[in-house]
């Protein structure tokens, strides 16, 4: 199973395995990663799975859809180019080794 690193708001790294096809949000919630709520269940409706995706060579998730970009813009204060909704990124073999950072608040 691909391994994903979540850097939580306290700066602590959590290396966890995710099933192929699961969203990063689901992986984080299943492993109790602090700062990821996934309140709306992955419907882009709440913004509680916001993460920054590190620029890791070889681990590039597919780009944001228009819906995701719009929801980031309205929900999140200070959207960065690396901002993503964790619910919109599916774990696949190509993401093995991906590192994402959970923003504080």
């Amino acid at each position: 199973m691909p391994t994903i690193t979540f850097v939580d708001p306290h700066g602590i790294e959590h290396d966890v395995e995710g099933d192929v096809g699961q969203s990063l949000m689901t992986v984080a919630v299943n492993h109790d990663i602090p700062g990821i709520e996934g309140e709306c269940g992955g419907e882009m409706a709440c913004g509680t799975c916001h993460v920054y995706v590190a620029d890791t060579a070889g681990c590039v998730p597919p780009p944001r859809t228009t819906d995701e970009a719009e929801m980031l813009e309205v929900l999140i204060d200070g959207v960065k180019p690396t901002s993503r909704l964790g619910c919109q990124i599916r774990v696949g073999p190509e993401l093995d080794g991906l590192s994402v950072t959970v923003p504080s608040e």
Partner: protein, 403 residues
Amino acid sequence: MTATKDLSRPAHVPTELVIDFDWFNFGTKFDDLQLEWERLREKAPGGIFWTPRNGGHWVPLGGEDVATVLSDYTRFSAIDIYIPANVNRTAQLIPIEMDPPEQLDFRKIIIPFLASKNLQPVEDRARALTISLIEGFLARGECEFVSEFAAILPVAVFLDLMGLPQDDREMLRGFGEQITRSSDPEQRLNSQKALEGYLLGWMEQRRQDPGDDLLSAIVTADVNGREITETEALMLAMNVLLGGLDTVVNMLGFFALFLARNPGHRKQLIENPELVKPAVEELMRRHSIVANGRRVIQDTEMSGAQLRAGDMILGSTVLYGTDASITSDPFTVDFERESSKHIAFGKGNHVCPGQHLARRELKVFLEEWMKRIPDFSLQSTDQLQIAVGHVAGLTSLELRWPS
């Protein structure tokens, strides 16, 4: 509310799962609504039952089952959230009676006005109003909390957001009460029509002269590259208004009721204001007030019961917050719990978009009230007036304090 053999039931519902339960009338006198739901768990130890009342519907009692009903739209559609189901109405409410993906197209329109990052100015206005309301009755040493505070603060904040006149507050709140707590579909429909008429007038005005308010955003919205239709805009505005008119109002009542009865918790909030934020979550967990229906859209099983496509099922959010398998000692309010797990704002794709606003209003209430009226109690021990329905609430709450 006893198990009975002679009530009509669909063929797929076994007799032993039938309880005669009218969710608009718990039948006995009670002063703790949440405990009444708990008693149902004792009556139906299997975790789910069917009642023939209000058109007939399922009532799951386990917290996780309730969360599933509210969030798994592949089996439980939000297309009908009222129990008993509506008749002859204009259209479904938008977006609360929609399923993904179209639901998101409409949710997007309102979210910018309710996103936490945009709410500080709204909170500041809510705080100013809170202070002026409290100071208006402080010296009297008593107030009727619902009409003099709870029914004013959130509704005023909301009318402001919508750009609607404050003078319409009482009329609109009356409509909201009928729509969320009337068990009579006819009466509900009349209030719905009256509210629609009111909104249509203002919508036309905003189309001519749009401002930066939420109602203007609704009537001028773009839905997936096309203009929003008149009916869609109306149903969206209705939904937003109902969310704002009748929810925080009632939650405030339960907050005040609990604190009036619990001097120890009041003392904690006064001595340690940092507990206000967790207290908001903990009080919402213990007093979740919303219950919404879903339409079963595929045959499925829940807690051993066979549900058929077409059945209605009721998701009562307080059953999650007070489920002992989710929260230990759930009826004890403890502001220092590690976490207060609740679904007071719902669960899944319909999770309340106004939750950040609601949290701020509840926080402001606790902060400003406790500073000014640290010591208060119920005026009398008369029976509490608790109304039940899609949003439960106190009809009135007489408080007094040393002045």
